[in-house]
């Protein structure tokens, strides 16, 4: 493959946009440092954006073997890549913060409302029961309630 023919910054940049978005969920989310603030992904997005810009410039260069096709392809792929970056940043920083205020949630010092719910085997379990059952052979010091979004 002739190096001049292939607009590598464009395609590498395009693939990198997806890689940087997906890597957050598959790699960086497992490490607290990169999960709470996705700086590693920001860096990847920055590199991807630079490559995309370089790719668009290259696509519009005068020495392309197929000038028209090259311009069309580089514009579409370049803008698509930049759109993916924009949407990713939007979802990481804006959508993720659309959470209800939960002002009525129990606060420190208040009593946690008791409840009874089925566990994974279908058996009914209450909070007071969980608090009175021993942990590791010793009386339980407390229960950590973890509410999560679930897989719905």
């Amino acid at each position: 493959m002739n190096a001049r023919r292939l607009n590598w910054p464009l395609w590498v940049g395009f693939l990198l946009t997806f890689a940087s978005f997906l890597s957050y969920f598959f790699i960086f989310v497992w490490f607290p440092v990169t999960r709470d603030f996705p700086w590693a992904n920001l860096l990847l997005f920055l590199i991807a954006a630079v490559l995309l810009f370089a790719g668009i410039r290259r696509g519009f260069a005068a020495d392309r073997p197929h000038p028209t096709r090259s311009r069309i392809v580089s514009s579409i792929v370049g803008l698509l890549g930049l759109a993916v970056i924009g949407l990713s940043l939007f979802s990481l920083f804006v959508v993720a913060r659309w959470l209800p205020p939960s002002t009525g949630a129990p606060q420190v010092g208040q009593r946690a409302p008791d409840f009874t719910l089925p566990d994974a085997t279908g058996r009914s379990v209450s909070l007071s029961e969980l608090l009175s059952q021993p942990v590791n052979g010793n009386p339980a010091k407390g229960v950590l309630l973890i509410f999560y979004r679930g897989h719905w």
């Binding site: 989310v29 129990p106 010092g109 010091k141 979004r149």
Partner: protein, 101 residues
């Protein structure tokens, strides 16, 4: 998990997932914590943690939140995150657990 056990803390995970889904999750991921299923979103509502329409097909689900409850049933530590991705770290919980008797 072992750290929580050693600290005398029982982690309990609550979501709208049905028991079967939690069972699969526990088996596939090897989790040994207690999963509770709030399919009718009653407890999540009582704790004011409903994230309306945020689930698949616009179902109501729980927003992420963690509460450390002591033996008397009193809340001793709360984490209401501002972003899905920013969750409580085990060290924070274990630190808060130290003050429990």
């Amino acid at each position: 998990m072992d750290q929580f056990n050693a600290a005398g803390i029982r982690p309990v995970a609550i979501s709208v997932d049905p028991p079967e889904a939690s069972r699969n999750l526990a088996q596939n991921e090897g989790y040994s914590l207690t999963f509770l299923s709030d399919s009718n979103i009653e407890v999540i509502r009582r704790y004011d943690l409903v994230h309306a329409g945020a689930g698949e097909n616009g179902n109501d689900i729980a927003r992420p939140a963690e509460f450390l409850v002591d033996r008397s049933g009193t809340v001793r530590w709360v984490n209401l995150t501002e972003s899905y991705f920013d969750r409580a770290r085990p060290e924070e919980v274990l630190e808060a657990a130290k003050s429990l008797k």
